[in-house]
């Protein structure tokens, strides 16, 4: 599904990623671990075509992302659900509208939005907070809304960049459980984290990055740094 072929990304003289090669199969749950500045976020940015690689090729379902023109990027990004450490909800939209926005952007009809958004709000246990604005929600609630937004269009891949970084242990557990459930339902999940507890709770494949290089790739979910 995802294939990084000798991908290098440099910012000036500094290499954020150096000849990284790895692949992710459909329905896999992969945790990318590493210290801050190891290159985890850069890897996700390349996957989302927020950045272009200096060398190598990134494939998503056999599409070379580098070949995508800017005008086609929004179509490509609709295939991926994105979750961020800082939630990145739109502040002047309610919880309902934040989730609905992803559907609106994908050109879904008002009827689809009216039927799907309440279902997702139920799924993330926030049906009663539909009309709340982000600043009226707790960190855990915000992250659950962000996950709802990420999965509303039933993407083939959900990418989560440090999704539990700003959460307390209880909310971290809830978010991990939601992500595991999403994966069990057939969606590929790729998360970056440096939280050992999260990696152990997931118990799936772990890719370790250090100074821009992949140093370990374990299928049994061990966090070793």
């Amino acid at each position: 599904m995802i294939y990084f072929d000798k991908v290098t990304k440099r910012y000036g003289d500094t290499a954020a990623l150096e000849e990284v090669t790895f692949s992710v199969a459909p329905k896999e749950f992969v945790s990318i671990v590493g210290h801050s500045g190891a290159g985890k976020t850069t890897l996700l940015k390349l996957l989302l075509a927020e950045e272009r690689p200096t060398g190598g090729v990134v494939f998503f379902e056999s599409i070379d992302i580098n070949d995508l023109p800017n005008s086609a990027l929004h179509h490509y990004r609709r295939k991926i659900g994105m979750v961020f450490q800082d939630f990145r909800l739109i502040p002047n939209k309610t919880a309902y509208e934040n989730i609905a926005f992803a559907m609106e952007a994908a050109g879904r009809s008002d009827e689809e939005i009216a039927s799907d958004v309440p279902y997702i709000l139920e799924l993330v246990n926030l049906a009663d907070k539909a009309k709340h604005f982000p600043d009226q929600l707790s960190g855990g609630e915000k992250q659950r809304i962000a996950i709802g937004r990420a999965i509303i269009n039933q993407p083939e891949l959900v990418v989560a960049d440090e999704p539990t970084g700003n959460l307390d242990p209880i909310n971290t557990y809830e978010v991990v459980e939601i992500l595991k459930k999403i994966n069990e339902l057939g969606t590929t999940v790729l998360i970056t984290t440096h939280n050992k507890g999260v990696v152990d709770a997931i118990g799936k494949r772990v890719v370790t990055i250090d100074r821009g290089r992949i140093v370990r790739d374990d299928s049994d979910g061990k966090y070793i740094l």
């Binding site: 075509a49 929004h74 609709r78 990145r88 739109i90 002047n92 994908a106 937004r149």
Partner: protein, 308 residues
């Protein structure tokens, strides 16, 4: 673009504006000030035109005819002059009318009236007063008159004198002053208009800057550039319409008050009357400027956040 998408852009734009709070309010205030400056420039332009026209109306060239010239010859000259494209108006004053007017002007000056009576008869000439459409045209009108055969009756000139030569200096200076005032006025208008437009642009740009993270998220969830841009443009247009409406509303009491206070200051220019008679034009200019400014500034400001 489907109707559904357009409807969503309008609804989202309106919600963004309504929920914008202090940012929306600040943008409306700045845009209102900008449009108020543009509005006041329209009034200044109207006042300047009115004043210049009043001055121009006071300038004319008079052709005085010899006392022996018949009225029919003078009226023939009048109709010849009226045919000239640069002439705005020609007024005939007979010798008798001139005498009546003279007596009227000197009604309290017994010495002059006594001298006039002692002369016997009417010493004053009949005359034609010519007003050109533009003061710079007087020279060509006078040249035409001097070359015209209509000014001769049986080979003798029926013209006693034309007062252009003695007024030429004044007319030339006035023409120069009018042109200079227009040019300086235009430059001042342009400077103020550009400055106020730049301020409005900067404010909208700042308002959109506060949404840059939001724009980045919209892009990452797969919104197209047009879908992201649309609501911001709608927001800008709403700001423009609201600001223009505020200015149009505020202008009623302001022009009424100013009109009362400045009656007679500018040669009879009535600001309130100008506003009511030119409301259509002012409405179109302010509303058009508001909508254009709002839409264009939003579009340009957001473009920088939509690359790649």
């Amino acid at each position: 673009m489907s109707w559904m998408v357009i409807k969503r852009m309008f609804v989202t734009g309106w919600k963004n504006f309504a929920r914008g709070g202090a940012v929306s309010a600040a943008t409306v205030v700045t845009m209102t000030v900008t449009l108020a400056i543009i509005g006041s420039l329209i009034f200044l332009s109207g006042m300047l035109t009115f004043t210049l026209n009043s001055i121009k109306d006071k300038v004319d060239v008079s052709i005085y005819f010899v006392t022996t010239a018949s009225e029919s010859d003078i009226l023939a000259v009048k109709s010849e002059i009226e045919k000239l494209p640069q002439v705005a108006e020609v007024t005939y004053t007979s010798a008798a009318d001139a005498l009546t007017a003279f007596r009227g002007r000197h009604a309290s000056d017994h010495l002059t009236l006594q001298a006039l009576d002692e002369l016997g008869g009417n010493p004053l000439d009949a005359s034609l007063s010519v007003r050109a459409k533009d003061p710079s045209e007087y020279e060509s009108i006078v040249n035409f008159l001097e070359a015209s055969p209509a000014l001769s009756a049986g080979g003798t000139s029926i013209v006693d004198r034309i007062n252009y030569a003695q007024n030429k200096d004044v007319i030339d200076r006035l023409t120069l002053a009018i042109h200079a005032t227009r040019e300086v006025g235009l430059a001042i208008f342009a400077i103020f208009a550009i400055a106020s437009i730049l301020i409005a642009f900067a404010t909208i740009r700042l308002a959109i800057y506060t949404s840059k993270d939001e724009i980045a998220v919209m892009r990452l969830v797969g919104a197209s550039n047009a879908y992201i841009q649309g609501p911001f443009v709608v927001d800008g247009v709403i700001t423009g319409i609201l600001s223009a409406s505020l200015v149009l509303l505020l202008l009623w009491p302001i022009t009424w008050y100013t009109g009362q206070k400045t009656a007679g200051w500018f040669g009879g220019f009535d600001v309130a009357n100008y506003y009511s008679t030119h409301f259509g034009l002012i409405f179109l200019v302010l509303m058009g400027a508001g909508v254009m400014l709002g839409a264009l500034a939003s579009m340009l400001a957001i473009n920088r956040y939509l690359k790649a």
